[in-house]
């Protein structure tokens, strides 16, 4: 029964509030009348009687308010009432509302956009079943760095581990693929048969690989990605006639993978790894590896397990040297994918967080002014019986309304912002395709709004309830005294704003200076006017394949050279700034010592005096000419170096310096056949200058250039230096290739695009943090200006008195400026201290400047002080112009 009664009254309170209120009013009125009548009967005058009962009641409104507050469902009603009231408040001050909402929208929008990237790239779980149990497995090199796996080592890991339910190896190669709708350059993954089982995924059509598909000499089979199947195979369901030609080999299509599956990233085709047999070398690091943890096994246990196997291999292998593994390690797959992206993204998130704080500080300052102007209204509400907590709740509601409005506009902006971010993001950022304003991101934004609302609301409420109600009711007089506390808080906020802004701009400055320093680095090659063209031929083993490739490349180079306007054409096995070259150990040898096969290499690598380490790259003389890589000594390749003549090599200055200190390397003969399978010795004929192949911010690496026409690789990049415009070069070159072989897919880029892409992540950081910094600076300037202007308005009377007593214009100017700048300087000092602490965390991303770069610090400080001075000057001038007569009449 009581439950029913409760429900009834709840419904009544909620939906018939008007009649409930009327009822209450009538009840109290009737009480007053009855009580008064009683007193009159006792002999009082009517006036006295009424007065007595009112005193007894102690304020009808307060009693009613107490009853209202304890009503069932009162909170629902009062929340609505608060919201309505808050809404009215905001509408009453449209200027304040618009500025506050837009400021919050800016902060929340930027934060949401950056968090979308952070979530999409770093936090979003991989789209596989139980993704935390998929680990990446690595060898550890003698230098302690994780590296890929050699075949026999992978086999030992696979067979001896007790931690993984499945483990698989994979690698990815860009290959020419034909047989579909048209030829393509596609990413082909070479995988061991258990690969899909690690991800607990299966083809949506057809079948998975089985062990026999992977044995040496098995009929070649291929799995295709969903998008490749749609785009190139016309979504055919009958596989019996579906064959693809990958590197001259015919593969039968056996299955289609689900649309969500693309690992390794961007793969279109998956083929068995070992169709041509496995490598026997424990130092050829050809594969990456992944495994799924067995139930109940922890990552640490798996790590110990793999490490123990690696140590056994290390101790028992007869292959010694720097390239043999020293240890083994595992990391969660997600971790291994995002490791490099983490710190730059968290730095961005930190930066945008600072921007948000500065924005909130501005709103807090606006609220502060609002609260003081509402002091009277609040006092009246208190006098009428509003409880303190009710007032606090009122401010929380207003804060929530403000931040939600800001949040809505901010999130709408973030949708556009995320698109811009993805377009701007460097290609090196992984998992960009999944970046969007997703549900978890929206949840984050909502949380953010709530936190901001709580912060701003509590702040406003604490200011509003800090002063005595009676002061609020007292008319005039106290406006100056009472504003002192408010002014002090306003200054504290400005100090915080200036400090945070300074940290942000110092960060932007350091990144900007780093970028400038990087751009000053001479790459060692020319960048402009070069169009590059990627071509890859099917691999054919042995002498015959080599001859064919050389003939094809010479022919291609000849014809390209004849294109009108072409100044120079070259070819390389690896373009600078696009991934680097393979590196390995080479051997100093004489003509008489040439080994017949690789079996002797292990032993030869033990002889330290023969050993050298270098990057390996095949180029033509035209490449060195077109990129203007200068010859230091000796000669570069020419007609003397025919395909069958003595194989020659050109080495870089740094290699000459490191490997042949105080000697002349020209004429030396080296064995580097372990890189391309060609055991003919190389004679060093020249030394060329170093180049920054791995990026402008990475020191050049010692490199051996071999003659591309003597040792032709399967995939080359042509570099065409031409005065003609890019489209016409591209069209002409495409035409040439079509005539030679219409089945070859090709990719064109300009070298300058490759160059700027290599600076992508630096530019991304500079642009974003710079933008955040400038925005924060603007906000902080507005903050300083606001507080000073408010202060001057409040002190008009005081200033008037000063002027009347003889203060000169200059004195007033000095006083106001001095006061403002004192505040700013405190902020600057705190900001510099904070920057010194915080910039250390970004040190690894800097180039050519230290984290405490004095130039950046002093420049930024100067910029901030100058801006603040300007922001203070305007109110100060106004103060200086105060007319004492007007000012004294002011109130």
């Amino acid at each position: 029964m009581p439950l029913l009664a409760k429900a009834q009254s709840l419904l009544r309170n909620l939906f018939r509030s008007r009649s409930v209120e009327a009822d209450l009013n009538e009840e109290i009125d009737s009480y007053l009348e009855l009580a008064a009548e009683e007193n009159i009967r006792a002999g009082m005058s009517a006036k006295d009687a009424q007065r007595k009962v009112r005193v007894e009641l102690g304020g009808a409104e307060q009693v009613k308010e107490r009853i209202r507050e304890q009503r069932l469902g009162a909170w629902v009603y009062s929340v609505f009432a608060d919201a309505r009231y808050a809404f009215r408040q905001l509408r009453k001050n449209p200027g304040f509302t618009v500025v506050a909402v837009l400021t919050l929208a800016l902060g929340i929008g930027c934060t949401t956009a950056i968090f979308s990237v952070v979530y999409g790239v770093l936090l979003r779980p991989l789209p596989y079943h139980d993704p935390n149990r998929i680990l990446a497995i690595f060898e550890v090199t003698s230098k302690g760095r994780p590296s890929r796996l050699a075949d026999p080592n992978f086999n030992d890991f696979r067979d001896q581990n007790r931690s993984f339910s499945t483990i698989a190896k994979y690698t990815q190669v860009i290959s020419s693929v034909s047989g579909g709708a048209h030829p393509s350059r596609s990413a082909v993954a070479y995988i061991s048969p258990d690969f899909l089982k690690v991800f607990e995924t299966q083809p949506i059509l057809g079948r998975d690989f089985i062990a026999s598909d992977n044995s040496k000499g098995a009929a070649p089979t291929v799995l295709v990605s969903y998008s490749y199947w749609r785009q190139y195979l016309g979504s055919a369901r009958d596989f019996s006639q579906l064959h693809l030609k990958i590197d001259n080999e015919i593969f039968s299509v056996i299955g289609v993978l689900p649309p969500s599956f693309s690992f390794p990233a961007d793969s279109d085709l998956w083929i068995p790894a070992d169709l041509t047999g496995e490598s026997q070398s424990r130092t050829s690091h050809n594969y990456s590896a992944v495994g799924r943890l067995r139930d109940g096994v922890t990552v640490e246990q798996a790590n110990a397990d793999i490490s123990a196997i690696a140590h056994r291999i290390h101790d028992s292998s007869n292959e010694k040297g720097d390239y043999l593994l020293k240890d083994g390690t595992v990391i969660p797959l997600q971790e291994s994918i995002i490791a490099k992206a983490r710190s730059p993204l968290y730095i961005l998130l930190g930066a945008v967080g600072f921007l948000l704080l500065v924005a909130c500080a501005n709103v807090a300052n606006l609220l502060l002014a609002q609260v003081s102007s509402r002091q009277r209204e609040l006092a009246i509400r208190c006098a009428l019986g509003a409880a303190r907590r009710r007032i606090i709740r009122q401010f929380l509601t207003e804060g929530l309304l403000l931040s939600l409005l800001g949040g809505i506009f901010g999130v709408l902006g973030a949708f556009a912002g995320v698109r811009a971010l993805v377009a701007l993001a460097p290609a090196t950022l992984p998992r960009l395709d999944g970046v969007s304003v997703s549900l978890p991101v929206l949840a984050f934004s909502l949380l953010l709004c709530t936190a901001i609302a709580a912060g701003l609301g509590t702040f406003a409420a604490s200011r509003a309830t800090s002063e005595d109600v009676r002061d609020g009711l007292a008319e005039g007089g106290r406006t100056q005294a009472g504003s002192q506390g408010t002014q002090r808080i306003g200054r504290v906020i400005v100090v915080a704003q200036v400090a945070i802004t300074l940290v942000l701009i110092v960060g932007a400055g350091l990144f900007g200076r780093s970028l400038l320093k990087v751009l000053q680095v001479d790459p060692g090659f020319r960048v402009d006017k070069i169009v590059t063209m990627d071509v890859s031929l099917p691999w054919v083993d042995g002498e015959k394949g080599r001859t064919e490739r050389t003939a094809f490349y010479s022919n291609l180079l000849d014809r390209l050279r004849r294109i009108p306007g072409m100044r120079n054409v070259g070819a390389t096995s690896g373009l600078p700034l696009s991934g680097g070259h393979p590196d390995g150990m080479f051997l100093l040898m004489s003509q008489s010592e040439v080994p017949k096969d690789f079996s002797k290499f292990g032993e030869l690598f033990q002889q330290k005096d023969r050993l050298g380490i270098a990057d390996f790259c095949a180029v033509t003389d035209g490449y060195l000419h077109s990129l203007a890589i200068p010859l230091v000594r000796g000669r570069i390749f020419d007609e003397r170096d025919g395909a069958d003549n003595t194989n020659v090599a050109v080495i870089t200055e740094s290699l000459a310096r490191e490997r042949w200190p105080n000697q002349d390397p020209i004429g030396a003969t080296i064995q580097f056949g372990n890189m391309d399978g060609d055991l003919r010795l190389l004679t060093v004929v020249g030394i060329v200058a170093d180049t920054h192949e791995y990026g402008l911010d990475v020191p050049p690496r010692p490199t051996v250039y071999v003659n591309l026409l003597q040792r032709p690789p399967a995939a080359i990049t042509l570099t065409m230096l031409s005065d003609a415009d890019t489209p016409s070069v591209t069209t002409a070159a495409r035409q040439v290739l079509q005539e030679l072989n219409p089945e070859l897919p090709v990719r064109f880029r300009t070298f300058s695009n490759v160059y700027s892409a290599s600076l992508g992540s630096r530019k991304f950081n500079v642009i974003l943090i710079g933008m955040f910094g400038i925005t924060a600076l603007l906000l902080a300037t507005v903050g300083v200006f606001g507080v000073m202007a408010y202060s001057v308005t409040r002190r008009t009377r005081e200033i008037g008195v000063r002027v009347a007593l003889g203060a000169a214009t200059f004195d007033v100017l000095k006083m106001v400026l001095g006061q403002g700048m004192r505040t700013v300087l405190i902020g600057v000092v705190i900001g510099v201290a904070g920057s010194l602490l915080l910039t250390r965390t970004v040190e690894s991303l800097l180039f050519g400047v230290t984290a405490t770069d004095p130039l950046t610090f002093s420049g930024v400080t100067l910029l901030l002080v100058a801006t603040a001075l300007l922001a203070c000057y305007i109110p100060a001038r106004r103060a200086a112009k105060v007319d004492p007569i007007v000012a004294l009449r002011y109130e």
Binding site: E27, S30, Y31
Partner: protein, 110 residues
């Protein structure tokens, strides 16, 4: 205020109101007077505490209200005891009995 009067003890207001309604329905002022009467003028209930308590108890379902005419033909809101209220009164009476017993025990200790 009459020196013999005292404000009602914390936690006993509900009990007093329930008790005052046992003999029949009353309006707010009536309840106030009735409590004064049954306590021999010792307890005075101020309207500032009475009305919030009445509304709370009504929502609890202990008492119910209706509009009626007062003795001199004024409209007044009357309260009357419900079953749940009667039960509540028993609980409170029993609890109060225990408290007074315990306190008098404590005070008699020498």
């Amino acid at each position: 205020m009459n020196p013999k009067q005292t404000t009602i003890l914390q936690g006993t207001l509900d009990m007093m109101i329930l008790k005052s309604l046992v003999s029949g329905e009353l309006h707010g002022l009536g309840i106030s007077r009735r409590i004064e009467q049954i306590t021999g003028g010792t307890f005075v209930v101020k309207p500032g505490s009475l009305f919030p308590a009445l509304h709370r108890m009504e929502e609890e379902g202990w008492i119910s209200s209706f509009w009626g005419d007062s003795e001199n033909n004024r409209r007044a809101k009357y309260y009357k005891l419900c079953k749940a209220g009667l039960k509540q009164l028993e609980i409170e009476t029993e609890r109060w009995g225990r408290i007074t017993w315990a306190i008098s025990q404590a005070l008699q200790q020498s």
